[in-house]
């Protein structure tokens, strides 16, 4: 019966395929399980081998072949589209909160729509639209935020009333709804058939497809993929693409040199029913009821409904390979709450007869975003997996980006949020993954307010001061596995309240962070910044300097003891990393990068530094605890502790020196703060961390020292217009576009990466410009707060999105940072953005559908850099255009 059902669901229509394997599959259909002799032997070599014949593998094959690569072999251990792809609910939904995911889904939708015409394979594509329901005002806000970003992408989308919902879908109980979001172009497909259509097209383009071929491991030599071993022999290849879905983790670990792909499978259930008495129309919109944790689509006159329960069932933690996903156990008791939610939403379905409860495992990742990109340890080893149950929505776009990545070296969009290199080996523990996916799966439906954090898999990497800070009221967030302080709760505050406050409006920590900021401005604060990535590069001769001069845009040939802020740019001049580099000696450098750069930056450097045993790159992140002393009195604290004069004459800004602090010697002190405030960062060998911290706190008492967290830091850096890599800056942003030409030395006398692109921009201008916006008519207490990703409107026209925002306690206004583009009014073509274009516009920021007037600025308030200005002065200068 199960097999029959699978046929029903996927409804495979097999037509004009590549002759080589059409014969094979059609014969297998009739004799389902018996092993067939393989009529075609595997090639001895190929340029690309793709493992996995699901939607991801076939999409990568399709796009690679479209881009002109022909020497491609796709291997599937069972049969095409037989895994999660076959069981997948087939909903193509563009309503995604992360912009790159939204773009992938949008592309997928367009691709699937024309796929049947292109390939002749019926895909079951049906444009039904989708309705996301809101049972609470907060949910409606989150839908409005998504609606704003869909609209500016040109994807039709509207917020509708419950009554309108009823008109669109007569079965819905709307009594508990406050509103909904309608996306009319969302679609339904037969996911297996989409996959088969992609395979058919790829096959016509010359891709060889081999079913029932199992990859045992990938061979890697000298950090490069050389081939794959299968149960049918070896194939030599340059590129390997792991699209093995929930088996991707195991496959990554099967070789001698493991490739860590952090994903974990969970059981996922959905229900199929017989048709209604009056069969449901196949054009009825799909319903997503996140507050009820369910989705409902029409299916062959009946419904298909599944959901994301609060208590997921992770599976295959120990790894259990199996050829195809056998029909896993149905678990009605587990499904009970979702069934309850379904009947609450559609009470009229009580009498509808059940056909089956399908158990279809889905793979989930530690941060709910899919995994794509090249392995940091093996060049040519690409991954596309971990779709968090949105495989069919992402399939087309993800396959396209990965194909571009393989062919061009990088996709046409910034995919850093999905890049495999955002993870380290630390996210690869099975226990971590098991616990984290149990949190992730319910989160699929949970309301995500600004600055939410994961609760599982925490306290993995910590500073030696963790316990001390925790005891003083620290509240923590996590970045790349590292615990960082958000803020310190003063004694006597209602802790419970703070920890559970979830709001799109003014958060409870507002005054707490305000007082930390005030202390940074007026006295001195300590922020533990140990999580930052720290590398040392040294050489016996000039190799270090020469290599770095090529890899970084600023001039690093500075006197010993100087610190340089510089971008690590790609060929297009985009930021691969943004860091501070201190010249420790003639031949050694100390480099500080954002926390999540640990894997990416390491890989970037490793792949580009000359293979020279006299040039040493070392990750020293774990060796140093970093304490950031921010504020006008930092200089007093430090000079008292070191008996050394620390004033600007003796210790100018952007300076680095090893000195003693308290009893501890060899502390690397740098006069930078990452915020624009005066102060220092102390890099302390970890065994001295507690001592130095205690000394600083004791000595600082008379200067009013206190602890502060990253929220204070954020507020300070954003009001100073400091861009941050990973948030504001990415591989598609150049220094020219964010006002950092002064950090680029085009004439430093030697060639560097990205130089040409920057020259061109310097001459021809830039196509987007990093801009600071001060919200004007925004009521901090009453209005929704900006977060990031809010659309920016210039003279009523969409020009870009914000990338970060914070409340400036100094300006007493919200500050948003973001990029302004110049789209031609008629053609939509991107035009050069000039200073005049920025300055001569009236701006608005759209927060969940509500627009707020904003003042645009290309340079920070100079007044903010001087201390103790009177407030009215600040206001005055704020209105002067630069």
């Amino acid at each position: 019966a199960a097999r029959m059902f699978l046929r029903l669901l996927s409804d495979i229509q097999w037509r004009a395929a590549h002759p080589k394997w059409r014969r094979m599959t059609s014969s297998q259909r009739s004799t389902s399980t018996t092993a067939e002799p393989h009529p075609v032997s595997l090639p001895a070599q190929a340029q690309v081998v793709i493992c996995g014949g699901g939607i991801m593998g076939t999409s990568v094959a399709y796009h690679l072949s479209k881009m002109g690569w022909k020497d491609i072999v796709l291997l599937e251990q069972g049969r095409l589209a037989a895994g999660t792809t076959r069981f997948c609910a087939g909903i193509v939904s563009t309503a995604r909160p992360v912009s790159i995911e939204l773009k992938m889904a949008h592309y997928s939708n367009k691709l699937y729509q024309q796929l049947e015409q292109e390939t002749g394979v019926q895909t079951g594509y049906m444009k039904t639209g989708s309705i996301s329901l809101a049972q609470t005002q907060d949910r409606l806000i989150s839908l409005k935020r998504i609606a704003s970003s869909l609209n500016v992408m040109g994807i039709p989308c509207e917020i509708i009333s419950p009554k309108k919902v009823l008109q669109l879908h007569p079965l819905i109980n709307i009594h508990d709804l406050v509103g909904a979001m309608y996306v009319p172009e969302d679609a339904l497909v037969s996911s297996a058939n989409v996959s088969l259509a992609l395979a058919t097209a790829a096959s016509r383009n010359g891709v060889q497809i081999h079913e029932r071929t199992c990859v045992s491991h990938v061979t890697i030599q000298k950090g490069r993929v050389t081939g794959v071993e299968t149960d049918r022999g070896r194939i030599q290849c340059e590129y390997f693409v792991n699209c093995a879905g929930q088996w991707a983790y195991e496959l990554g670990h099967s070789g001698e040199q493991p490739v860590h792909i952090p994903l974990h499978a969970c059981e996922h259930f959905y229900l199929l029913t017989h048709p209604l008495k009056e069969p449901l129309s196949s054009s009825l919109p799909t319903i997503v009821d996140p507050d009820g944790r369910i989705y409902i689509r029409n299916w062959q006159g009946g419904i298909l409904s599944g959901g994301f329960e609060k208590n997921p069932k992770p599976l295959f933690t120990e790894g259990r390979n199996q050829l195809e996903i056998q029909n896993l156990q149905e678990d009605w008791d587990h499904f009970g709450p979702l069934l309850g939610a379904l009947l609450r939403r559609m009470p009229g379905l009580e009498a509808l007869q059940i056909m089956q409860l399908v158990n279809c495992p889905e793979s989930f990742t530690p941060d709910m975003r899919c995994i794509m990109g090249e392995s940091p340890t093996a060049r040519g080893y690409f991954v596309l997996a971990g779709m968090n149950s949105a495989g069919i929505s992402y399939g087309g776009g993800a396959g396209k980006y990965l194909a571009e990545w393989i062919v061009n070296g990088y996709p046409s969009e910034n995919v850093w949020p999905l890049d495999l290199k955002r993870f380290g080996t630390l996210q690869s523990s099975r226990t971590f993954l098991r616990h984290r996916v149990m949190e992730v799966m319910p989160l699929m439906c949970d309301l995500k307010v600004p600055r939410w954090d994961f609760q599982t898999g925490r306290q993995l990497r910590t500073s030696p001061l963790y316990d001390r800070l925790d005891a003083q009221g620290a509240r923590w967030m996590e970045k790349h596995g590292f615990e960082r302080v958000k803020y310190f709760v003063p004694p006597g505050s209602d802790l419970l309240d703070l920890d559970h406050s979830k709001t799109f409006y003014k958060p409870d920590w507002f005054d707490i962070v305000g007082s930390e900021v005030k202390c940074c401005k007026e006295a001195v604060c300590v922020i533990d910044m140990s999580s930052f990535t720290k590398f040392e590069i040294s050489s016996t001769g000039d190799q270090a300097l020469e290599s770095l001069q090529y890899l970084f845009s600023n001039d690093l040939d500075v006197p010993v003891g100087h610190v340089v802020h510089t971008g690590m740019l790609n060929e297009k001049g985009g930021y691969e990393n943004d860091c501070s580099i201190a010249r420790l000696s003639k031949r050694s450098f100390f480099m500080i990068s954002p926390t999540d750069q640990q894997v990416h930056c390491w890989t970037w450097l490793k792949n580009r530094l000359p293979d020279d045993s006299n040039l040493v790159l070392e990750d020293v992140t774990w060796k140093y605890t970093a304490l950031n002393l921010i504020g006008p009195r930092a200089v007093d604290v430090l000079s008292e502790l070191s008996y050394a004069p620390m004033t600007a004459e003796h210790f100018p800004s952007l300076f680095c020196k090893e000195m003693s602090v308290g009893y501890a010697n060899g502390i690397r002190v740098m006069s930078i703060t990452h915020t624009g405030e005066p102060g220092f960062v102390l890099y302390i060998p970890i065994e001295y961390a507690l001592h130095v911290y205690n000394e600083v706190m004791n000595m600082g008492q008379k200067y009013g020292i206190r602890n502060a967290g990253y929220y204070a830091l954020r507020s300070l850096r954003i009001e100073k217009f400091f861009a941050f890599w990973g948030q504001d800056l990415d591989a598609f942003t150049t220094p020219m576009e964010c006002g950092r030409e002064f950090q680029v030395k085009l004439d430093k006398g030697m060639e560097f990466l990205g130089q040409e692109a920057l020259w061109e921009q310097k001459q021809n201008g830039v196509y987007k410009r990093f801009t600071m916006f001060i919200l004007e008519d925004h009521d901090t207490d009453m209005d929704l707060w900006p977060w990031w990703g809010e659309p920016i409107f210039r003279n009523g026209r969409y020009v870009g999105k914000t990338t970060s925002s914070a409340y400036s306690y100094t300006l007493e206004r919200h500050v948003c940072l973001g990029f302004v583009h110049h789209f031609d009014e008629k053609t939509g073509e991107e035009l050069v953005v000039t200073t005049d274009f920025i300055n001569q516009g009236e701006y608005e920021i759209d927060i969940a559908g509500q627009r707020f007037q904003a003042k645009a600025k290309l340079y920070p308030f100079s007044s903010l850099f001087t201390q103790r200005r009177r407030k009215d002065e600040v206001e005055l200068s704020g209105y002067q255009r630069e």
Partner: protein
């Protein structure tokens, strides 16, 4: 008037008691893992009693439930004394001698029983001397009788039951100079009690039953389902063999008056019981004892009343029916309970509820739709009901409490209905007895590993 769930729980849990057989070196070598017991009163005060003890001079564990009638005095006395009589009956000759010598020379006695008592289970201090003397007389006779043979459990149980009932009768006839004690022994003798006692030693399980309490074995079948095996016969009018027995023991002329309205002589529900001398003594003896007895006894209409058609006493015996069962690995638990439970629940349901409780909800049979026609609504109802069952499991830490919750609160669908539970528990004292009887339950859980190991040895 409405009880909150926590009020309901505090009522249900007031008398719960659990005992776990201690482990040595991380191993429990006993065939018994432990037991849960509980009582829910309907009478005020409750007339049921329960006892549990480990035999210290022989192996084995004793557990029993006692259902009193016409007051609680007899059930109380039996609950205190019966296990000593059983333990003594089981003792080898040398041990009896040793104990007697110790008493004789004023040395400390070997402990015979280790009791497992709830704080509410009391012993009457005043009567302890009297009870001890009767017990000592019994073992002295056993010493004199020294048969030399090893003690048979069945025989020991029967002897102990009969001897105790005899002692109760004798003590009432002899009386006591202490007026309190005198009144006590008379109350014990004139009231009655049934007894259902289990003796577990290794894989040998003996049930000695007198009256209409019941012992039931919970068996887990290979498919995981639960079934019930009776290990006792009710001694009442529903038991044809029992009716036959009574009729056999009396002349044919009385045949019609012996059992009326399903009661012995039209009065007594159980056909076997301790005490109840009104069904055992001759009319002359009853009159003499009542007349010479204290005023309170004389004023009591019940004691003075002679049953109708009372020609050939005794009509009642305390002799138990003993069933021996060799435990098997699939025998997971034993339920001893007074008729208050069995009136409200079928044994099959008892087996299922306790079985599912003890093994945890995970073993609840998964639902499969298969080829059946099930609607979403039906499935939703079914799942809701299963969840309710699970949630009531989580409320209870004690299998006996869990069973009482079901016995009192079950609705027509076999799930606990809080409203009904609340109503039943908030009945005023005078009404409670009309809707339910005292309920006393002991659930003994067996150690399948140990039982399996025993089996392999044999």
């Amino acid at each position: 008037f409405y009880l909150t769930p926590s009020q309901v729980n505090s009522i249900l849990k007031a008398n719960e008691y659990s005992f776990k057989v201690p482990e040595f070196d991380g191993k429990n070598v006993s065939s018994v893992l432990g037991f849960d017991s509980n009582q829910l009163p309907a009478n005020a005060p409750i007339e049921d009693r329960r006892s549990a003890a480990t035999c210290l001079q022989t192996r084995g564990m004793l557990l029993g439930v006692f259902d009193g009638h016409a007051g609680c005095a007899c059930a109380q006395a039996v609950s205190e004394r019966l296990f000593y009589y059983i333990a003594v009956s089981l003792l080898p000759h040398e041990t009896l001698l040793e104990i007697e010598n110790a008493v004789e020379s004023g040395r400390a006695l070997l402990p015979i029983l280790q009791w497992h008592k709830h704080p509410n289970d009391y012993f009457s201090k005043e009567a302890s001397k009297l009870y001890f003397n009767s017990l000592r007389t019994y073992w002295q006779e056993l010493i004199d009788l020294n048969s030399g043979e090893t003690t048979d459990v069945r025989e020991a149980l029967i002897n102990a039951f009969k001897r105790l009932d005899n002692d109760i009768s004798l003590e009432a006839q002899v009386g006591d100079p202490n007026s309190f004690l005198n009144y006590l022994v008379l109350r014990v003798a004139f009231s009655g009690a049934t007894a259902c006692v289990a003796h577990v030693d290794g894989i040998d399980l003996h049930i000695a039953n007198t009256g209409d309490s019941r012992a039931m074995l919970g068996v887990q079948e290979e498919d995981g389902s639960w079934s019930a095996v009776n290990l006792s016969y009710d001694h009442n009018a529903q038991n044809e063999r029992e009716v036959e027995r009574v009729k056999m023991e009396h002349p044919k002329s009385e045949e019609k008056s012996l059992v009326k309205q399903d009661r012995l002589l039209g009065l007594l529900m159980p056909f076997r019981a301790f005490g109840d001398v009104k069904f055992k003594w001759s009319i002359e003896l009853q009159k003499r004892v009542v007349e010479s007895g204290p005023d309170q006894l004389n004023d009591n209409e019940y004691t003075k009343f002679i049953p109708p058609n009372y020609y050939t006493p005794p009509y009642l015996t305390a002799e138990p029916e003993v069933i021996h069962h060799k435990l098997r690995p699939q025998d997971k638990f034993l339920v001893l309970a007074t008729d208050g439970l069995w009136e409200t629940m079928h044994r099959q349901d008892v087996a299922r509820i306790v079985g599912e409780y003890l093994t945890g909800v995970h073993h609840q049979q998964p639902i499969a739709v298969g080829g059946y026609k099930v609607t979403l609504g039906q499935m939703h109802g079914l799942l809701t009901e299963r969840r309710a069952r699970i949630s009531s499991v989580f409320e209870d830490q004690n299998a006996a409490t869990h069973l009482i919750r079901h016995a009192v609160g079950n609705n027509e669908f076999g799930t606990v209905d809080h409203e009904r539970l609340s109503k039943m528990l908030s009945l005023p004292e005078e009404l409670a007895r009309m809707y339910r009887d005292d309920i006393t339950i002991i659930v003994v859980q067996f150690n399948s590993h140990v039982i399996g190991a025993y089996q392999n040895e044999e």
